[in-house]
């Protein structure tokens, strides 16, 4: 069967893009292959490891399983979009760096974006809620201890404690 092509408009990291893509394209392929936004990783291509996580209208999605055409008219944020003007990092990025929550780094972009999705929705999560929120993001290096600590630090700062 010949793949059908379709035009979509997607805002990625604040910039509007127009694509003419095959309808069987996944969001991860669009980001990595069309735009060179390789921060989202292909760890399993089955939605099981979380390393391809990006934010779609603020909510974490597995971009490896998400059809790109369904992003039409919506907002996508990747790890590349988290850095503010003048290179100012997002507090989660800063906390992950400062608190040793990064080792090999392959899970890091997906992990940070999942954490952002959580904190944007629930600025005051209990530890158990943090663990649950990131339980779909596998990290094989850190044992999660410093990742959880980093997310807690940002949550505390957000609350202003």
């Amino acid at each position: 069967m010949k793949p059908v092509k379709q035009e979509i408009m997607v805002t990625i990291n604040g910039e509007l893009n127009r694509f003419f893509i095959r309808t069987n394209t996944f969001l991860l392929d669009l980001l990595r292959d069309e735009l060179g936004l390789t921060g989202a990783k292909r760890g399993c291509n089955k939605g099981e490891c979380g390393s391809c996580t990006v934010l779609l209208d603020g909510r974490p999605v597995r971009s490896c399983l998400f059809p790109a055409v369904m992003a039409d008219g919506r907002q996508v944020v990747t790890i590349e979009g988290l850095e503010g003007p003048g290179g100012k990092l997002h507090p989660l990025q800063e906390a992950f760096i400062q608190q040793g929550a990064i080792q090999c780094g392959f899970c890091t972009p997906g992990m940070i974006l999942t954490a952002k999705g959580l904190l944007d929705e629930n600025p005051n999560p209990a530890e158990e809620e943090i663990r649950r929120a990131i339980s779909g993001n596998i990290c094989r290096c850190t044992g999660y201890v410093k990742i959880i600590d980093a997310i807690r630090t940002v949550a505390r700062k957000k609350r202003g404690d």
Partner: protein, 767 residues
Amino acid sequence: MVNEADMNSQRPEGFRMIGQPIPRVDARDKATGRTRYVADIKVQGALFGKVLRSPYPHARVLNVDISRAEQLPGVRAVVTHADTPGVLYGSYNSGIKDEFILAKNRVRYVGDEVAAVAAIDPDIAMEALTLIRVDYEPLPGYFHPEEAMAEGTVPIHPGDRNIASHRLTVRGDPDAGLREADLVLEDQFETDLQIHAYLEPVACIVEYDSRDRFHLWAPIQNPSWSRIIFSEAMDLPIGRFHCVQTPIGGAFGGKLEQKLYLIGFLLARKAKRPIRLENTREEEFQSSMPRVPMVIHLKMGMSKDGLITAKTHRIIADNGAYAKYAPGVVNLGTYRIDGLYRMQNVRNECILVYTNRPPTSAFRGFGNPQITFAVESMIDVLSRKLGLDPLEVRIKNAALPGDVTVHGFRFTSCGFKESLEEVGRMMDYQRVRRERGPNEGIGLSGTTHVCGNRGFFPLFDGSTAIIRVDEGGNVRVIPGETDVGQGLLTAFAMIAAEALGVALDRIRVDEGDTDLSAFGLGTWGDRATFIGGNAVRLAALEAKKEILRVAADMLEANVEDLDIHEDRIIVKGTPSRRLDFEEVTARAVYTQGGSPIMGKGTFIPESDGADSTLYGNISGTYAFGAQGCKIRVDPRTGEVEILEFYAAHDVGRAINPMACEGQVEGSIAQGIGYGLLEKVEYKDGVMLNPGFLHYRVPTALDVPKMCTALIESIDPAGPFGAKGVAEPSMTPTAACIANAIYNAVGVQIKEIPVTPQKVLKALKDKR
């Protein structure tokens, strides 16, 4: 102007940087998505490669017909055994040469490589695989060493009873030792495959240039060493291979040289185009080189006051289809523990058997987690039956600094006793042992490990680092070891900065490149910080000497009176006479024909290798540690919940305590996976759960709170006293959990992973 106050702000023991929890030098790139793993690199004109793998665990290959695949539009090359040099090769460690790059007339496990294609896009490459016709004649498959060793089996490789390696080592008088014991126990322990499950699948880019040279970009732990294997397998001189290490997204022993890279060479040469190859996650599970499973028959004797009088073990290990590093794992990895408890009488027998499962190989701990699970479980059982406290028994038998072990290891520093005591203190051991909730239990275990292993690489041990300082004062470190995600770039940058007396942001540590670096043995065997760190330190000191020589001319001072402190060259005692670092580096370069300042440091550890019986001091030093945990068992479901984990590890000196803790925490999580969760399901040689959904790598919901203490024994030979930590911290975890389960519900589980079913069955049998 350097004032007294600045001088006094130096850290304890005079270090500015060593011992500080400094964020990783590569963390910012990783946190912002800038790090380019190999799959993130785009190469113009690259073709997509795919590998055709055997669907049979054991079969004859009668014919491979690639004609239809070759005719598919978009296919640029198809390779089979006919495109290989047709020579057998091996891991350059065991001496066993038992594999071809692509199957000749036999496949030996599900996933064995038969052919490969390169096409202009991945879909065409996948389609081309379906057009390759292979005629197989299935042979009986053997999935357990006992089956494969039986009389009358079809040999998987030429040889007797499918035995890949067999070794017996006896020290002292084990029979007399057992006779002296007040209690002798004998039991069987079993461990299974464990998949590395690093997050970054193995991938590579290969180019074949017009001068017949192969260029490889890949996440490879051992770039220089790999060239020897590539050379052997491709039957070409070593110089024809150039390996560039890309950032490694987790390795754990699983990213030593890969067959995928050899297949890349074949495709690139045939297609005359760059090739990109990437394993799928399913290929990673089904066809990578997992941890060696072992059946361990263990016998130990103990006197009634708790001294271990003898230990004998007979290990039957599953080598899988090809002897990669499994011979090293069983023979070099399973006798280390004999030094942990001052044993004098041991008999170790290791039988490694070919089966039709994936080739097993190196994985964090390298055989040590397997034997440690058995021995550390047994020590608990013996202590219990003699009415002794397991912590006290361990302390009583613990190795001490200055020991020469029964196998000839020399413990120049040893913080094992302190590690045990610290774990006991952190977990409030005596109190928690008495006062614990229903079905709750605590467990302990200990570990020792090498920091490098002279027996592992036959040609030499050691490391050489090169440091180059340019006119702008930028310091480039070219090491021989690789950052596999553990933070070596940072450790080496800190060591270089400390030794040179300059700021961390001047330093850049390179990833491996065999055209630039010295022959580096790479990262394995917990060697990188201890051996490579020393080389970096020596290289930095040599560069510093050169800088001070130039500065002495400029300041009209004696070299001996100069030092580098916080990016300035100072005259000791006369702080007003100083030069900026860049002034000196620029002068050096501009007055010496443009020559950069170079430092080269070589470190060869004081190990002397082992004799034919494996007796000898195989490592320049040894790491130690102890762990303890608190768990709860649900007797209705058999589920084990880990409540708390405690670890104390003798790291010599923590170059970067935050990174050391990170290694310990990550190890404990992998150990929890190994001990409790990670179970491969096989049917007729096919892995039934080749994905993260059904092979349960620990998630954030599976790991407990952890408490880590770093014991600093300050090793006399370590760089600033440092030793390794990444492997020993994984080793004791499974035993620790098993011992806690007994403490909770009175059953000692002897097979890992400890699934709820095993706990339930043991509870039922107990009743």
